[in-house]
């Protein structure tokens, strides 16, 4: 039976690598994640014997994923929903992205306009 599980895991690995070269747009991420979850489930149930373990072990194993979903779910509901609603006096882009990197002084600052003004008359 272990060999059959190994075979399934190999087949799923081949699938996920193959799918990576196909542009599914927004679907690439969910598909890859679904395959990874399926592979992890096979390993947990059979290689780690959870299928044949006590109810208590199953419960403990389940809590790991329960709390993982809370961690991802609650954090992403915050970050992904930023900018959906604009509070009075706020901007739609507030908090949606952290800007990093050099250059790009904020628009409207005197320094930025002066810089462009110097570059423009050259030609």
């Amino acid at each position: 039976m272990y060999y059959a599980i190994f075979g399934s895991l190999m087949a799923l690995t081949a699938t996920t690598v193959a799918v990576a070269f196909v542009n599914l747009g927004a679907l690439n991420f969910p598909v890859a994640l679904a395959i990874a979850i399926l592979k992890a489930t096979l390993v947990i149930l059979f290689f780690m014997h959870v299928k044949y373990s006590s109810q208590l072990t199953k419960l403990i194993c389940g809590t790991a994923f329960f709390f993982l979903i809370i961690l991802f779910g609650l954090t992403l509901t915050d970050y992904l929903s930023r900018g959906w609603f604009v509070a009075p006096g706020g901007t739609a882009g507030a908090g949606t992205q952290l800007t990093i990197g050099p250059a790009a002084p904020p628009a409207g600052e005197p320094g930025a306009e002066a810089g462009e003004g110097e570059a423009a008359p050259e030609p």
Partner: protein, 229 residues
């Protein structure tokens, strides 16, 4: 185990002979094994949360800098990544077979499977080393010497920080697992395990499979998902 039973019966003074590997606060070997497995699972839950925090950082920065994630995926070597996936899942198979062998009391087979698992684990680490060395030569290690052509350089540094953080901690777990297995293999070689008591083999197996599962998620997330965008 008749010898073990009689040898251990004497000094207790209660006349209760028992298996030499049964701790006194447990009533049966089955109960002891159940408690040990449960404890290992609780530890693995903390490990899931440990990697979960890093994966959360990965997800958030991926939402913020999708272009850098596309570039980053393309920078990683998919052939080496896929090879390592096969190697690691293969080592999970040999580990599972090793636990099975310990369970059925096949001592030679247990040692053999454990050594094979260690060899595959080492193969993984060697391949990982070559991947890291390539990044080192390209100055893709985050820090003062980090270089990356193009306007995405600062974001790329975050991608590579997460790449090295996630795969580095995974590799550290592999090294710990390898050390663990070398001790277990030595114990198996010395005939320490019996079908009644092989808990250390079972628990190291759980740890090894957990490390495998972490890679099952890291491989698609780092190497694959953003390749075609």
């Amino acid at each position: 185990m008749a010898d073990g039973l009689t040898a251990h019966a004497g000094p207790h003074g209660d006349g209760q002979a028992h298996h030499p590997d049964l701790q006194h606060h447990f009533q049966t070997l089955g109960q002891q094994q159940e408690a040990a497995t449960l404890g290992m699972w609780i530890f693995l839950v903390t490990e899931v949360m440990f990697f979960g925090g890093l994966l959360m950082a990965y997800l958030l920065y991926r939402v913020w800098y999708p272009e850098a994630w596309v570039e980053g995926s393309l920078e990683l070597n998919i052939v080496l990544g896929a090879t390592n996936t096969v190697v690691l899942i293969g080592s999970s198979l040999t580990m599972a077979l090793g636990v099975r062998a310990a369970q059925t009391g096949a001592q030679k087979a247990t040692v053999g499977w454990l050594l094979l698992t260690m060899a595959l684990g080492l193969t993984f680490l060697v391949i990982k080393f070559f991947e890291y060395r390539e990044k080192w030569e390209l100055n893709h290690i985050p820090g003062p010497n980090f270089t990356f052509e193009g306007p995405l350089a600062p974001q790329m540094q975050i991608f590579f920080s997460l790449y090295f953080g996630l795969t580095g901690l995974h590799a550290l777990h592999m090294i710990i697992g390898f050390t663990l297995l070398s001790v277990i293999a030595w114990m198996a070689h010395r005939g320490r395990f019996t079908p009644e008591w092989y808990t250390p083999v079972e628990l190291s197996g759980l740890y090894w499979h957990f490390v495998d599962i972490v890679w099952i998620f890291l491989f698609p997330l780092l190497y694959l998902v953003d390749r075609t965008h």
